[in-house]
Amino acid sequence: METVLSIQGLTKNFGKLCAVNSINLEVKRGQVFGMLGPNGSGKTTTLGMLMGVVNPTAGSFSWFGQPPTHQLRKKIGAVLEHPIFYPYLSGQKNLELMAMIKEAPVSNIPKVLELVELADRKNDKYKTYSLGMKQRLAIASALLNDPIVLILDEPTNGLDPMGIAEIREIIKRIASDGKTIILASHLLDEVQKVCSHFAILRKGTLVHSGPVDDVGKGEEKVEVIAFHDDIALLLERFDGTISVKKEDQQFVVKMKEGFHSQDLNRYLFEKGIVATHLLTQKKSLEKQFLEILAEAEHAALIKN
């Protein structure tokens, strides 16, 4: 697969503070790439360097295998942090100005305004827009030049649930067109719902990167409720069991690799027990994220 973005040892220091510490990363065509990390972990600084507004202290990166130039940036649609527009210009005029800078055809403007459902407010001044409308205009501006890559930084920040759902729909629609999307967010749910790959930053260091589908692989946990006196003992004796934990009235069985819920079900059935509740716990990205961060924290503590 074609590499869209390749980062080698990218570093940014603000005085003594190391905001981004020697990051290596690759994004391939068609990926929806989520950048996760707590606030202040260096996501926006990294994106700022990729878009030429922050000068890197060290390291390099290339877009489409070429060293970065301003000409290349015209083919990338990006919104960093919050929407930025001229407040005294209307949405339409703001987009016209951007089309001039990006050398995009003006005929794209109605299309993108339609996509984000702002066509009926296009002649109002930007400063009169609500936050949700500002975010949507930002997405429209990023799509103005039919970009090959779309960079969105916290696109749902500060939106109400309906606004979040709307933006998510828009992102999914764009992704289904085969566009590469880089999405920075601290909303894990969002990343899990729309992303194909993700990376986690912590204090400027890359601590994990991989496909979202890998989340939840490995050992399984199965919730069991069955009304039998020796259920705890029987579960312990099952070949696939690593450990059994009682939570309220249900048992959570941690399974060895290669064992699944159906194996446990069959085992119980053979023992003459019918479970009333049997459920494989899905490992959420949130859990994985917290685990990875905790591990990184731990590693950092040991190192010091």
Partner: protein, 267 residues
Amino acid sequence: MLHLLKIDLKKLIDYRTFWIICGLYFFTLILGAASGMEFLKWLGRTIEGFGQNININRIPLYHFPDIWQNLAWSAGLLKLGIAIMVVISITNEFTYRTIRQNVIDGLSREQFLISKMLTNLLLSAVSMVLVFLIAVVTGLIYSPVFDYPYGFTGIAFYPAYFLEVFAFLSFALMLGVLLQRSGLTIVLLLNSYLIELIIKENIDNYIPGVVPFFPLESIMNLVPLPFARYAFQEIRDYVTFGSIAIALVWTFLFNYFAYLKLKKSDI
């Protein structure tokens, strides 16, 4: 190049403050030109004996060729008005952070600066043409005769006035890029003459002859004060090569400093 100018004009053309300030500037220019004679009459009334020493009506304030330098110098005072507009235009980009979005969208930092410089050039050119037209009109109204080629003496002050405005706008642009805050920049812009005056007055004792090389001094020197000639004093009524050269060097430096600052800072 034209594309970059269009980009910057697009930002200004729907900006009401821009039109208000430009309108005020040109309105003051016309009003100032029209009221010169009235001002002299007022002087004659207020200052005892003013009219006796010099006959007001015999002062050829608006006659060709005096009008050229008189008006170019007077208009030079008002360049502060457009300079404030330039400061607002550049510092807005920092307060709204639109410079950041411009760069993200694919403008290089140099291109961004060039787009601002091109607007400065355009404003200077428009200003020069306007002052020239006012000079022609008032000259035709007041001059009893126009004798060619004597009537054109001093017309070289118009290109000099153009450089004067452009140099000062470059100075304003540089201050805006360095300070990034409109209030602070305007205050410093207004005070820069006083600051330079204090330095000039004190340094002359130590390093004689250095004064004409000061930035604002060099801008003022392009079109020297003409009115002393009506008090029978000697004035310089021609443009000197030296003053042009010094002002050109400063203009280059102002824009170059702005470029350096933009180049190395995170925006």
